[in-house]
């Protein structure tokens, strides 16, 4: 069982395939990936595409027999409407969680609207994924700070600090509601994190789908070659995400 916890329905895919996920899913098939958490792209790029892209993700999921696990987004600049849209994503669109890309979306996670979103996440037990590893709004420690302030909310570092910020991420590995998606770190950082973070809070992701290139092959091979105990790798590659889905 492999669950990819970091993918996108990229704008280039939408432009080419017009809401038909078959070719996108074929890439997952090539690598024997069972399911994937899928974030948008247009909705992270433009506020005015937010609602329609959230709805598109729902339709993609329906067309995939639920292999696509849709994750919506809102823009903190929307104020109270952001909270309403987040609630709609979870209640009406049946989304599994929310995703924020604070540097792309241009908003600090210290916004009071983010506080309301975190409370919503706790209320519905919906995880909140964050791009992390990038200044000035998406540093791993800034995101981990949310996990510290909202202990009932599951917060996912969707890159686990990327290439240089992962040591800061590790400093918060003791927080039971902070999850580490190993997506974009080096092989060596992956090995160190797998030794340091409790294995039950490790996830794996490929970042596939922003462009048309197959990024899964490389990132899957990285996870396979990393010096990680097999039981930990099994949890990271799918068992943790599966358990998470079953608990909701």
């Amino acid at each position: 069982m492999i669950i990819d916890c970091h993918t996108h329905w990229g704008m280039v895919w939408q432009e080419r395939d017009r809401g038909d996920p078959r070719r996108w899913l074929a890439v997952l098939d090539r690598h024997l990936i069972n399911r994937a958490f899928v974030f948008g792209h247009a909705n992270l790029d433009r506020l005015d595409h937010c609602r329609e892209d959230n709805e598109l993700l729902r339709r993609l999921s329906d067309a995939s027999q639920e292999r696509i696990l849709p994750i919506g987004t809102v823009w903190l600049q929307m104020g109270a409407e952001a909270v309403n849209e987040a609630r709609r994503c979870i209640e009406q669109l049946g989304m599994k969680g929310l995703k924020f890309h604070p540097w792309l979306q241009g908003a600090s996670v210290t916004s009071p609207v983010m506080d309301d979103i975190c409370r919503l996440g706790a209320e519905y037990r919906a995880p909140i994924f964050f791009h992390d590893g990038t200044p000035c709004y998406s540093l791993s420690e800034q995101i981990a700070g949310l996990a510290l302030r909202f202990p009932q909310t599951d917060i996912v570092l969707a890159h686990s600090g990327l290439l240089w910020n992962w040591r800061s991420a590790l400093l918060y590995a003791d927080l039971p509601n902070l999850w580490f998606c190993l997506c974009g770190v080096t092989l060596r950082a992956m090995e160190i994190m797998a030794r340091t973070v409790p294995p039950t809070r490790l996830l794996w992701g490929s970042d596939f789908g922003f462009g048309l290139a197959d990024t899964i092959a490389y990132r899957l091979e990285l996870a396979r070659r990393a010096c990680i105990p097999d039981p930990t790798r099994e949890l990271m590659m799918g068992a943790n995400a599966q358990r998470w889905l079953e608990s909701r």
Partner: protein, 244 residues
Amino acid sequence: MVIDAYCALGVDREYDLVAERLLDEMDKAAVDRAVVAPIDRNLTVRNREGNDYILEAAAKHPRRFIPACSVNPWFGDEAIQEMRRAIASGSRMLVLHPLVQGFVADDELVFPIIGEASAERIPIYIHTGPPGNATPWQVAGLSRRFPAADFIMGHCGATDFWNDVVAAVRSVENCSIEASLARPFGFASFVEQLGEAKGVMGSFAPLNDLVLEWEQMRQVLPPERFPGVYGGNLARLLEKRAPL
């Protein structure tokens, strides 16, 4: 000649690469030669210790390793003297790592070192990427100021300065891009946009798996179509000082 443009040789924290293992991995990946550079601690402090370690390893394997040196610009004149000594002893490339060494890449602090490296006709490899003190445009700025120097933009600003790479490199004549950390699928796109002559393949072992990096890169940039990326482009820069 197939050359890996960047491997960090030594043991400390996440680094655990010794000569024998590197040679073994190079053989597995069909890599003829590798540029070897000091580990982070020796980029930052005790530069001479790191440079000597690299020079000794290269002296033992002169047909396989190409030694790079580093000095921390904060050491001022002492850094210049150490760089001269290392180059006179055989170093063929200067490595700067602004994040680790604690300066902004285009700070005037580094100008004397770059001037010296340029005069010695060795290429200057600069680690780039977040948080923001080693960006593609900072390297482009240095390239403009020192048009006779050859710059290698390590990691292509990976990850989140990737947007800037193509425009920054196009703005100057004397800047190449190096592959490690940019990931094969990302690097291929840069090479396609900038041209084959600008690309330099490096693995950044041991933070990355050398064999995997080479396997994956050859899949996305076939060597028969992009031969320079796998050694020729770097050799051209390195041989400005002396034949390899």
